[in-house]
């Protein structure tokens, strides 16, 4: 157990470093840019109106104070961290004067829900079928799965989501293709609302599952086809242990350990995929918020979404990494 605590300590340090560097980099990128947020906002606000020059100067002064850009960059940086700890990055422009963090907080459950649901389905189903395919190498159905997996896996998230959108939006319109729930239901713990949420989640989740499934399936199949050549598997077979017990108890379990490491490493990419998919289906999560923020030129909100994304993904990877030694009996035994 001592070694596990040591591992947790080391990993926590790494987590803090990742968050620190990630958030600092996000800050630096937005603040070292040649484009000033004040001028960008001013340009947008005055584009469609004839404001008096005095009004523009007053607006510029107010915005400069709001963004605090007249201070030296180091001060801005410290202020940024202080405000981040207080969970307040300032008002957003997209929905002025709602704080950016409130918007992020509203979008967060959608993304987390979609991501968790899709990743769980993909990981469990992909690994289970991949394990079976690696063990029963002559099964026709599992071979067919392999071909499908190879066919879909390389296609980027956006294109798969787009194809689903075309199929279910234009050719066979049976599923809702936009939004998080129907407009005519009352949000709350009632069945119409929940079923509406589930229905709207089908297509985004399906595109994530379709893309993600192949990777786990192919990875697990390759791992298992190496494990089955091990002596202990041959021994178990000769000893007359049932095939299903061998597959589930000995083969898949052993091959699952490296797959869990892979899950931790893949989470960043899956998050990006979720964000992209959300945009296609207009799902009210972080992805759509980010795109809206960019289109509105809202630097506070862009900074907030990026910061939260970097932190959340680092945390998720951290949690998966902590689970890892617990599933590996070799580490537990130490």
């Amino acid at each position: 157990m001592n070694s596990y605590l040591w591992f947790v300590g080391k990993r926590t340090l790494q987590l803090l470093a990742v968050i620190f560097f990630g958030v600092s980099a996000t800050f630096l990128v937005t603040h070292l840019s040649p484009i000033s947020p004040v001028e960008a906002v001013l340009g947008r606000m005055t584009a469609r109106s004839n404001s008096a020059p005095e009004a523009i100067i007053a607006m510029r002064a107010a915005l400069t104070e709001l963004y605090g850009v007249d201070e030296p960059i180091l001060n801005q940086y410290f202020n940024f961290w202080l405000r981040l700890f207080r969970g307040d990055l300032g008002p957003s422009l997209l929905a002025f004067p709602t704080p950016a963090m409130v918007l992020v907080g509203r979008a967060m459950p959608w993304t987390v829900g979609l991501l968790t649901l899709a990743t769980l389905i993909t990981f469990v189903v992909g690994n289970f079928l991949g394990g079976l395919a690696g063990y029963y190498q002559n099964n026709r159905l599992l071979k067919a799965f392999g071909i499908v997996a190879i066919g879909i896996q390389p296609v980027p998230y956006y294109i798969v989501a787009f194809i689903l959108l075309i199929i279910f939006g234009f050719l066979w319109p049976v599923l809702p293709i936009s939004g998080g729930f129907a407009m005519n239901v009352i949000p709350g713990w009632n069945w119409p609302f929940i079923s509406s949420i589930l229905q709207h989640a089908i297509l985004p989740a399906a595109s994530l599952v379709l893309v993600g499934f192949g990777g786990w399936f192919l990875g697990m199949r390759a791992l298992v086809s190496n494990v089955v050549t091990e002596d202990y598997v041959t021994y178990a077979e000769l000893a007359g242990v049932e095939h299903s017990t061998i597959v589930n108890g000995y083969v898949i379990r052993n091959a699952l350990v490296p797959q869990l490491t892979a899950l931790a490493m893949a989470l960043g990419g899956v998050f990006s995929g979720t964000v992209i998919t959300e945009q296609v289906f207009n799902y009210p999560g972080l992805g759509s918020l980010l795109i809206d923020a960019v289109n509105a030129g809202d630097s506070t909100l862009v900074l907030a979404v990026s910061t939260v994304s970097v932190t959340a993904v680092a945390l998720a990877i951290f949690i998966v990494d902590l689970l890892h030694p617990l599933l590996d009996p070799r580490v537990r035994a130490e």
Binding site: T26, I35, P154, V155, F170, V275, V294, S306, V313, I317
Partner: protein
């Protein structure tokens, strides 16, 4: 080299299919050099013509011949992928070989940086860069940024191979013969990791082209530079599917799926080729 190719085509159906797909795509992309029309011009043909003998892939609502438009778009997308892959390969080779061979604090420091890059979700970061750079974001800047994020996985892979090479007899011989670190890495270790470099090259191209398509469809790149992504962007902005100009969307999607499938099959079969056990199993030995 030719014998390897012959064996791959003969024993590996995936490689053969991948090769055919990629060849079609590459030939189509190369045709753009002979394009009779300037793909950046608009309204030079009759808009919204379905595919026909005159316009093989139809024309779009902006009055462009889709055949030449897509040919140029594919060329731009492919060369974008190649630029990203080359730059990120250089980074991952340097990091991987150095940290595997030198070890110690160099290894720890490089892998620490590596872990940070693995944990960063790339898409929000790219959007952030677009937000900051806006119109200064040309495809080369984008390629540079993506290359800076595309190396960590492969660096780890190369490092694991380099770790094994470090303790091999020939490395020790080279050290005793007085070869410097740079020379050992370049002349002794590099050839061993080249197969990995090739197969990750394709995967990296897939990854970067996919992200470019995504960014372009959202309008977050230079939308006047024809790539597969920007073609889809314009199709979306003209509501091509609703208007019924389906070929404007369906044909680029088919082309991009062909590209991805082809490159992926090549990468997979090359991966398998690197692992001699699976190669033998396939050849029936």
């Amino acid at each position: 080299m030719f014998a390897v190719f012959r064996d791959l085509i003969r024993y590996n159906i995936e490689f053969a299919i991948g090769l055919v797909l990629v060849s079609i795509i590459v030939v189509f992309a190369l045709l753009s050099f002979f394009s009779p029309v300037d793909p950046s011009l608009i309204y030079i043909t009759i808009p919204d013509q379905p595919p026909s003998a005159q316009y093989w892939f139809g024309t779009n609502s902006r009055g462009q011949d889709m055949f030449w438009q897509l040919s140029t778009a594919l060329r731009n997308s492919l060369s974008f992928g190649i630029i990203v892959a080359v730059i990120s390969r250089v980074i991952s080779l340097t990091v991987g070989l150095l940290s595997g061979y030198v070890g110690g604090w160099v290894d720890r420091a490089l892998m620490f940086v590596n872990d940070i890059f693995v944990a960063v979700p790339i898409f929000p970061v790219l959007v952030l860069f677009y937000f900051v750079l806006r119109n200064d974001m040309n495809s080369f800047t984008l390629a540079l940024i993506m290359a800076c994020f595309g190396w960590p996985f492969d660096a780890r892979l190369i490092r694991s191979v380099a770790l094994g090479l470090k303790h091999r007899e020939f490395t020790r011989h080279a050290v005793f013969a007085g070869m410097g670190t740079r020379k050992i890495l370049l002349e002794e270790h590099l050839p061993y990791v080249m197969p990995i470099v090739f197969s990750t090259f394709m995967n990296n191209m897939l990854w970067s082209i996919g992200l470019e398509v995504t960014l372009a469809v959202l309008g977050f790149t230079n939308i006047n530079n024809p790539t597969i992504g920007t073609v889809l962007y314009w199709a979306n902005s003209h509501s091509a599917m609703v208007v019924g100009v389906w070929w404007w969307i369906v044909i680029p999607v088919i082309l991009i799926v062909m590209t991805f499938l082809g490159l992926f099959l090549l990468a997979v079969s090359m991966n398998e080729y690197i692992d001699p056990r699976s190669r033998l199993r396939r050849m029936g030995a």
